[in-house]
């Protein structure tokens, strides 16, 4: 190495000290690690104090086993690639989709389904916006109800029997991650799937006690068995409906 042509005639002013990092890869590496650690500590660590980042909101409950099975299908089919579940606090979004999303509304989602791109519309509040039949038609062939739609059809969902053999295990894992599924909920998972997908019977009351305000109805299915479409529809129909915004106080939660 020659030093004859160094900047400013070899004077090492304070403005040229950065050369130490640029010329020694180990120093550069250590420097990068230090900077990222500082950024990470400042930005991420405060989020571990969840009490301060997720406000307490009435009404948010964990998904029922059937809805959870539907959510698994939602993730499996990659719905989040085209649909967001995150209404931002912007005027046009609130006008079109309804109240902006609250952190609490996705606090039991692991992983969350906020999405990052809207090829289709946001569906954070799609629950109760359309009928079950519409969702069935729309999943089978979106063009049958929305001629301009570019969404692919998912016709096999309504012919595929729903596999719920692992749903209690899913719930157990989510419980480890902090979703308040109780032992009772996990044990009743298989029967709760059937209860929510069928007309009211003696099992409905205990089911509603476990999952307040969940919608239980005859979902049809194929020959008495629930299909994947039924589960997905049950999931979609609860999206954004858990918080009652007639009772929710926007101002109280401005912090």
């Amino acid at each position: 190495m020659s030093d004859t042509h160094t900047t400013s005639g070899g004077k090492t002013s304070v403005w040229t000290k950065h050369q130490v990092f640029e010329k020694n890869s180990i120093f550069l590496l250590i420097g990068i690690l230090v900077m990222i650690s500082i950024g990470g500590l400042v930005e991420i660590v405060p989020l571990f104090y969840l009490k301060s980042t997720i406000e307490k909101v009435e009404g948010v409950r964990p998904l029922t086993p059937l809805e959870l099975a539907g959510r698994n299908i939602y993730v499996r089919e990659g719905c989040y690639n085209c649909h967001s579940q995150m209404i931002r606090p912007l005027r046009d979004e609130v006008e079109r989709y309804g109240h902006y999303s609250l952190a609490a509304e996705s606090m039991y989602d692991h992983p969350f389904q906020w999405g990052s791109k809207r090829t289709g519309p946001d569906i954070a509040r799609v629950g109760g916006k359309y009928s079950d039949d519409w969702h069935r038609d729309h999943l089978r062939n979106p063009r049958s109800v929305v001629p301009a739609s570019i969404m692919p059809g998912y016709p096999w969902l309504e012919t595929t029997t729903l596999d719920t053999s692992h749903i209690d295990m899913d719930m157990r894992v989510l419980a480890i991650e902090g979703v308040p599924y109780t032992k009772e909920m996990i044990e009743a998972a298989a029967s709760d799937v059937k209860t929510q997908g069928s007309a009211e019977d003696s099992m409905t009351a205990p089911f509603l006690k476990r999952y307040p305000k969940a919608i239980s109805r005859e979902l049809g299915g194929v020959q008495g068995r629930l299909t994947e479409a039924d589960a997905l529809i049950a999931y979609l129909q609860q999206l954004g409906t858990q918080v009652d915004f007639k009772l929710y106080d926007d101002k109280a939660n401005i912090r």
Binding site: M1, S2, D3, H5, T6, T7, S8, G9, V42, E43, P46, L47, Y49, K51, S52, P89, L90, R91, V94, E95, R96, G98, Y100, G128, K129, Y130, S131, D132, D133, W134, D137, H138, S144, V145, V146, P147, A148, I215, R217, K246, D250, K251, N253, I254, R255
Partner: protein, 297 residues
């Protein structure tokens, strides 16, 4: 070009350009240490200054149980409150009038009618078009709103009630209800009887029926099973949401297979209640919009 034979000139770049080098030399190749373009450097410094200003004025740095709020006190949640309040105020001149005026009077006032139709049309596109179609033309199972064939009534008030409470929407206790029995699934009629009564239903509106179909038997079955809701002559009953079977408007298709399917399954379409999602003025505007599409009674 002529070559001088005197001492060879130093043709190395540092000497030629007067720019220093970084000090690296590989196989005699040196790296010039050109300064960064000045415009880039100043933009970089300006960004740093901007970031520091941002820290002071806007919420920026998370702390243990709170965060730095910034001098302006800006919050996305207060901002959206302000934005929505501004929007509400902008519209309130007309929306308060819409809220206070009877539907029939809205349609009589050109000013209110044009506002209601504009607001109704926008709300229709967002909320109603997915089922009823962008032109309210409907799809199989989702009624056309342009014609004068109404299942639950075509007066503006009827339409408003349907919008507010929906149809067979279980979460709304005031929802329109009236469910056709599943004649086939529940074994009330057998397949042959369903075919016979379907032929009779088709004949009510003058549609051709299969040769050799027993219309007399169909009429008897109709009188026993269908007339209570759809009326003796198939005119329907809007109180019960029983469609008119004697006109040529068919929600699920006019071929025999479609009619038989409906008799077998029964039930009926479901429309959500909108009173939790839309405000009063928007629902009134929607009712006016749908009522004035062409088929309103």
């Amino acid at each position: 070009m002529e070559q001088k034979t005197s001492a060879p000139a130093d043709t190395s770049a540092p000497v030629q350009t007067g720019v220093g080098t970084t000090g690296h030399i590989w196989d005699g190749i040196e790296e010039l240490n050109n300064p960064l373009p000045r415009w880039w450097l100043w933009t970089f410094y300006a960004c740093i200054i901007w970031a520091v200003g941002y820290w002071f004025f806007y919420p920026a740095i998370p702390l243990v149980s709170s965060y730095t709020k910034g001098l302006l006190g800006w919050q996305s949640r207060t901002q959206i409150e302000l934005d929505m309040a501004e929007l509400k105020a902008m519209r309130s001149g007309m929306t308060t009038k819409i809220e206070a005026t009877e539907l029939a009077d809205i349609e009589k006032s050109p000013e209110l009618l044009s506002f209601a139709r504009a607001q109704g049309s926008a709300a229709f596109a967002v909320n109603c078009a997915p089922c009823h179609g962008a032109g309210a033309q409907g799809f199989k199972g989702y009624p056309n709103l342009n014609d004068d064939d109404w299942i639950w009534g075509g007066k503006a008030e009827d339409i408003l009630t349907t919008i507010k409470h929906g149809v067979r929407w279980e979460q709304d206790s005031d929802s329109r209800s009236g469910v056709m029995p599943s004649f086939g699934r529940d074994g009330i009629l057998n397949r042959k009887e369903i075919g016979t009564v379907a032929d009779y239903v088709l004949s009510l509106s003058g549609l051709p029926v299969d040769k050799g179909s027993d219309l007399a038997a169909g009429k008897a079955l109709y009188a026993a099973n269908c007339a209570a809701c759809h009326g003796d002559t198939g005119k329907g009953n809007q109180e019960l949401g029983a469609p008119n079977l004697s006109d040529k408007v068919w929600l699920y298709g006019s071929d025999k297979a479609a009619v038989m399917e409906r008799i077998t399954i029964g039930g009926g379409g479901v429309m959500p209640a909108w009173s939790n999602r839309l405000d009063a003025a928007t629902m009134k505007s929607l009712a006016v919009y749908v009522h004035t599409l062409g088929g309103g009674k």
